[in-house]
């Protein structure tokens, strides 16, 4: 039997509505609250697209800072002492790199997802799981690097 055409009489939604009606409360959910809906591929893809664009915007700012830092840091060669002293001087650097790592862990796997879908033709749940795993691994590796840079022996 199709549950959407004939819902069971004891469904929680119905009894909650009946209870609300008995107490003179609103039988309808308040206006502006979207009703819960089943999974929608359109919505899921749109949210991923938005995540890709928002992370891109954050990364754009981060990468400008990163490139400027690189240009200055490579003058006269790189040394661990120089890098660690700079980073550990201010908690602002830690906050900056946390945002940087988190954004890239969103942005890079989503980019790979599009490449794999379009150039290798893999799609669907397994690809999504693999991409989620890639993002998690990337985040873990990034946080581990930050742990070393900011909390390692000095």
């Amino acid at each position: 039997m199709d549950s959407s055409t004939a819902p069971p009489a004891t469904s929680t939604a119905e009894s909650a509505q009946a209870a609300a009606a008995r107490h003179g409360g609103p039988a309808e959910p308040p206006a502006g609250t979207p009703p819960p809906r089943a999974f929608s591929a359109a919505r899921f893809e749109s949210q991923l697209w938005l995540a890709q664009r928002v992370s891109a915007l954050v990364l754009a700012l981060c990468v400008v800072v990163h490139l400027a830092t690189i240009m200055l840091a490579v003058r006269g060669g790189l040394s661990a002492d120089e890098i660690l002293t700079r980073l550990r001087a201010s908690p602002a650097w830690l906050a900056f790199y946390l945002v940087f790592v988190a954004s890239v862990a969103v942005h890079a796997p989503l980019g790979l997802r599009a490449i794999v879908a379009e150039w290798l033709g893999w799609r669907g749940r397994f690809l999504n799981a693999g991409i989620f795993l890639a993002g998690t691994v990337l985040l873990a590796l990034g946080l581990r690097a930050l742990a070393g840079l900011f909390g390692g022996p000095g």
């Binding site: 490139l67 661990a80 840079l149």
Partner: protein, 115 residues
Amino acid sequence: MKSAFRSRAHPGFWAFIVHRVSGLLLALFLPLHFWLLSQALHGPAALDGILRWVDRPAFKLAEWGLVVLLAAHLAGGVRVLMLEFLPWRNWQKALLAVAAGCTIAAGAAFALNLV
């Protein structure tokens, strides 16, 4: 029937290829980058060991390549965001020229700071 290569010979398509390939290479490089930095967990000497090990011309060239890839992906990405989020105007090729210019400038700046 596949579309011919010639039909793609326009700047927007090349900008896309640069964006996609640079993004792919940067994504593949990131785990290595993070792993190298995490050597600081073993103390400054371990990180210094890595930094000395990569201090040779071949790696300098590779680093320059990475900086150019990053600058290209940044400039190309800002271009895409502007096309998608700002009111449409006929400035695709101007944006492309600016993006290419920024990439070249970043590559030159890094090269000059290396020597």
